[in-house]
Subunit: 343 residues, 2 copies
């Protein structure tokens, strides 16, 4: 079995480990509450940047704290960082080794912001640059495409959100995450069928709200492991121009979860279907999409705000099976190393 | 002549008109200075969202004010907006008619934020929702793909940045913008040649720093007018995974301007070239890229922070000529209307 596939399977155990150690984020939440930051800024690259995108929705929706995503080049190349003394700044990096993410944290700390590193490498430069570090505790990730460190980052974000504003229903849902990931793993036969059914070299992935992050992460995983040109859009942004490419068997994957944006994305799906597009569905907790070319459907019973954790697992399985169907080695994509250092 | 091409040509005059009325942003800057906002949030869709991306770099680098891009669905579908009372919130929309962008401004104003609409429709819902409106004064835009309203939005942002922190060198550069756009218009023969040379259905556009916005806008224009699947990445993000797709005659366009990120993007270009990629170059003020498949080169003599205004004009010319070469009508992309309303 490839490292990628075996690490996908480890995710329920990784999540359970993080949940058991949830108290580790309490002092961080206490420090943030004391500082009363006006906003949170996140710095990250690659898959970790999709975890940051999830945080953009979760911290704003649950904690009402405005969220900005950093432009690292302003800290590195341009030496013109913004004023962050009233911010909480969070850096996310599996390896903790990307100098640009560490540079954002170091500057924010120098200015007096509350700084937090989320990393799988407790002794990394990123952890050293921050006031606080959240250990992702995912164990070594050997596959180049991230899987367990991605969902561990999502869960660390959700635990911090919960520690900032505790809610018993959300707590129950958090504790259900490992089981929800198992429900996603059980959808593997559907992922295999869908992987075999995709022949295109171009593909659009649509999501919205909390699962815009999932759409971005699925697109990146498909690009990394199978070299297809996959691009994610928010279903709303797609209507503002890019929809011009969608006709005539053009392949799209819709990422769905039950929530207030579902009606809109269903309406878009009907429009795409009537234009002759191939619409596929990756969904946790919704009905089968009428006219879908193929579907990956399961029901983890998570509230929508946590479905990015289950849907990411199913998205990884799809990327894995698409790579297998194309005879690619998902562990070692060409041109990539496990640790990417950018400035 | 198509509306798209004739509106591309109007841009020096539109810019001159906005510059002549620069005093209109002074009361807005005064109100922002009085409120001393902790951060700026921008809400926009489509091309206007790329103007917001430019603002993310310009306000942070020149004014040191942190910038966040809004997640409109939190204001509309989820009814869970963040706390924005210490923010300045700017909505950008050519038509001023997208309900989601207006909803962000209305909620921010209700909370006590300083709110600004930038729109080409002075009597729009967006203008009505805000404390202040900046009129883009671009005249009616008849082509569905935006051109002059895009660069007018960039210039409105630059004028507001200047009104917040006045600098005589930047003032001189602002006044040079219409001439810089004329220099870009004079590169049309190069845009025509490059447009004729692109046969691919997939294309990656790379930019960084201030011109990440230009890369995104070029990718959208190519998608809208020629139905190619074009995707922009920051040159740094591209290294964190997506570079796996780039080998073997894969077509990329590098957007360049003279500045501190140029050395990095040149290094990336050499790596892409050695992988056998077709690397094209769209550049204002840099040297010809060795081994480029084709180049659009001019020198507007703008400082890097304003080159998105000249490079956008050249990017529009490339999209126009690619559409012509493919026999498409650039004015009326399939599936699109001029005004897109999303919630």
């Amino acid at each position: 079995m490839s490292h990628f596939r075996s690490e996908i399977g480890e995710q329920p155990a990784v999540a359970a480990r993080l949940l058991a150690d949830a108290a580790a984020v309490e002092p961080i939440a206490a420090a943030i509450k004391r500082a009363q930051p006006m906003a949170i800024m996140l710095a990250a690259r690659g898959s970790s940047d999709h975890a940051a995108l999830y945080a953009k929705y979760l911290f704003q929706a649950r904690n009402r704290i405005p969220v900005a995503l950093a432009a690292p080049s302003l800290f590195t190349h341009y030496a013109a960082p913004p004023r962050l003394e009233r911010f909480c700044v969070i850096g996310i990096s599996q390896s903790g080794a990307s100098p640009d993410v560490a540079a954002v944290l170091a500057e924010a700390r120098r200015q007096g912001a509350v700084t937090v590193a989320m990393t799988n490498a407790a002794d990394s430069a990123l952890a050293a640059a921050a006031d606080f570090a959240v250990a992702l505790q995912a164990g070594q990730e050997q596959s180049v495409p991230a899987s367990k460190t991605y969902t561990a980052s999502l869960l660390a974000i959700a635990l911090l959100s919960q520690a900032l504003d505790h809610d018993p229903d959300f707590q129950e849902a958090l504790e259900h995450v490992p089981d929800a990931m198992r429900a996603a793993l059980a959808s593997e036969d559907q992922a295999e069928r869908m992987g075999k059914s995709i022949a295109a070299e171009n593909l659009v992935v649509l999501g919205r709200g909390f699962n815009l992050a999932t759409a971005e992460e699925l697109a990146l995983k498909l690009t990394e492991t199978s070299y297809v040109m996959a691009r994610a859009w928010s279903a709303a942004d797609f209507l503002h121009g890019p929809i011009a490419i969608a006709e005539d068997r053009f392949p799209l994957i819709l990422v769905e979860s039950p929530g207030p944006t579902l009606a809109d994305t269903r309406q878009l799906a009907a429009r795409l279907h009537s234009s002759g597009c191939q619409v596929r569905q990756l969904a946790d907790g919704t009905d089968r999409l009428p006219d879908a070319t193929s579907s990956i459907l399961f029901n983890s019973r998570l509230p929508e705000a946590l479905t990015p954790l289950s849907l990411a697992v199913a998205a990884q399985l799809l990327a894995y099976h698409l790579a297998l169907a194309r005879g690619r080695d998902p562990d070692r994509p060409r041109s990539l190393k496990k640790v990417t250092q950018t400035w």
